[in-house]
């Protein structure tokens, strides 16, 4: 070592200088619960099962999300709509039970892509941290959006979906048996 290096002080001062510079830089930390970072437009968080304009559930339990799911996180049981339940379910078949295992889910968004009824969307909401595994199997009580508290997914509607909606000649975009 040279004499300057042996002194140690220049090295300490140059190190302190770097530390000192950071006092005048923009802070990178945020106060999380009060402040949140801006989410990406295509952030994929907790799922929502959408209702249509009239408030009826869009999901018809076709099973395409479950078959598209690479993690096999989605299970469902279908049921037939009874007369008088038209305001609750859009089609003659609906999902009586719809469960997503949030621990299995990898948030890839394939279910959203597979859905022919625009029923399932991934939102920018975060999935809660819970204590047991059972709690993280989300059922319809959590997934279906409340009628009075709709979840906005307009950001997630890709140009493809918008195009699809614009062309009403796609017959499966309509309901059939509204009698």
């Amino acid at each position: 070592m040279t004499l300057v290096e042996k002194l140690y002080l220049p090295a300490i001062f140059s190190g302190m200088l770097i530390t000192f510079k950071h006092f005048f830089k923009k802070k990178v930390t945020i106060q999380y619960p009060e402040q949140t970072r801006e989410f990406s437009k295509i952030y994929r968080g907790q799922h929502v099962l959408k209702r249509d304009e009239a408030g009826a559930e869009r999901c018809t339990a076709c099973g395409l999300c479950a078959v598209a799911c690479p993690a096999e996180a989605i299970t469902m049981i279908a049921a037939e709509r009874e007369p008088g339940e038209e305001h609750l379910y859009r089609e003659e078949k609906y999902a009586a039970k719809y469960e997503i295992n949030m621990l299995r889910c990898i948030y890839c968004g394939d279910c959203e892509e597979a859905c022919p009824k625009e029923a399932i969307f991934l939102t920018d909401r975060k999935v809660d941290s819970l204590y047991t595994r059972g709690e993280l199997v989300y059922g319809k009580d959590i997934l279906v959006e409340p009628v009075d508290k709709r979840v906005d997914v307009t950001k997630r509607e890709t140009s493809k979906v918008a195009e699809f909606k614009a062309h009403k000649e796609f017959a499966h975009n309509k309901t059939f048996d509204k009698k």
Partner: protein, 329 residues
């Protein structure tokens, strides 16, 4: 005997064979590998007499009439109703003209067919779905209102959803040929025609359930299976039981240990091998009623075969054999 060439494949068939049957013979002789040159069918059913000739999906082009009269036929012909001639040359999938014409036929079949595949129990094993998919018909150009009907219960086990019907006449022929009395028929004409049981007479024949298996779309469905599960979540197994009425050889569709549905075994062409009775089909919904043989082979490129259960079963067999050999040593 007559020599025919279909899409470049030669075969010698007995006189009176139709082009469709000859094409199927070629595919059968080549085994499961190789391209499927057999024209698709929506109404023709080899097990039912006088079926075929309604849907026109099996149209092919005859480029050489016969050895004696080599002129080509002027228009595409329905292969299920056209018999072969010696020296005949036919093109099916190698002819863009045929594929274009078939695309038109599919579009016509889909005019009144609702696109409610997400609801329909037939989805996944529907021949019209396959046909629409193969011909890339995601859009319809039809602007008018599709015809709709109320659902009809045919007996306690069968539901008729006329909205989905494509008028193939198969179910009527089953009712005519398998049962002693004619209960079912076509009423009205042209665009207004519909399948009906006369005066809504319930079919209480032992073999009436077979109309479900022959229906190429989801118009006739099993009420005991209605909305229970999508077919691709169930596992088909060949099974049998001692039945006094029928052969008792069926395919059962399992979810776990639960028998969700019982159908007849179908061959490569989606046709029933042996008809089964209603008791086997609708009333034996317990796994203990059946002797399970093996997983059903699903030949068609289908979402049902996405379960990989069959290869898994054969893998287990292989491992079993290997273990036995090891034990011998």
């Amino acid at each position: 005997m007559a020599k025919v060439t279909i899409d470049g494949h030669n075969i010698e068939v007995p006189d009176g064979t139709t082009i469709l049957q000859a094409a199927r013979m070629i595919v059968d002789s080549k085994g499961y590998e190789g391209e499927n040159i057999a024209p698709p069918t929506m109404c023709y059913y080899s097990k039912l007499k006088t079926s075929g000739g309604y849907c026109r999906t099996c149209i092919v082009k005859v480029t050489k009439g016969s050895e004696k009269d080599p002129r080509p036929m002027p228009k595409p012909v329905a292969s299920c109703r056209t018999t072969v001639m010696d020296g005949m040359e036919v093109v099916n999938i190698t002819s863009p003209e045929v594929l274009e014409a078939r695309k038109g036929v599919v579009e016509f079949l889909l005019i009144n067919h609702p696109l409610d595949c997400p609801i329909c129990d037939q989805a996944g094993e529907c021949h019209l779905q396959d046909l629409g998919y193969e011909h890339g018909l995601a859009k319809t150009r039809y602007d008018f209102k599709r015809r709709t009907f109320n659902m009809i219960d045919i007996g306690p086990f069968i539901k008729l959803h006329m909205t989905r019907c494509i008028m193939c006449f198969r179910c009527i022929k089953v009712a005519d040929q398998l049962t002693n009395h004619r209960y079912q028929g076509m009423i009205f004409r042209g665009d207004a025609s519909e399948i009906s049981t006369y005066i809504s007479k319930a079919i209480d024949n032992d073999f009436s359930g077979n109309v479900i298996d022959v229906c190429p779309v989801g118009a006739l469905t099993d009420k005991t299976f209605r909305f229970k599960s999508r077919v691709w979540f169930t596992k088909p197994m060949d099974a049998h039981r001692n039945c006094t009425k029928c052969c008792g050889k069926v395919a059962i569709w399992l979810k776990g240990n639960e028998v969700l549905r019982v159908t007849a075994r179908k061959n490569r062409w989606g046709e029933v091998d042996e008809w089964i009775c209603n008791e086997c089909r609708f009333e034996k919904k317990d796994a203990t009623d059946w002797v399970i043989e093996k997983p059903t082979h699903i030949d068609r490129h289908s979402v049902i075969s996405a379960n990989h259960y069959e290869s898994l079963a054969s893998l287990k067999l292989d491992i079993g054999k290997q273990q036995k050999q090891l034990n011998k040593k």
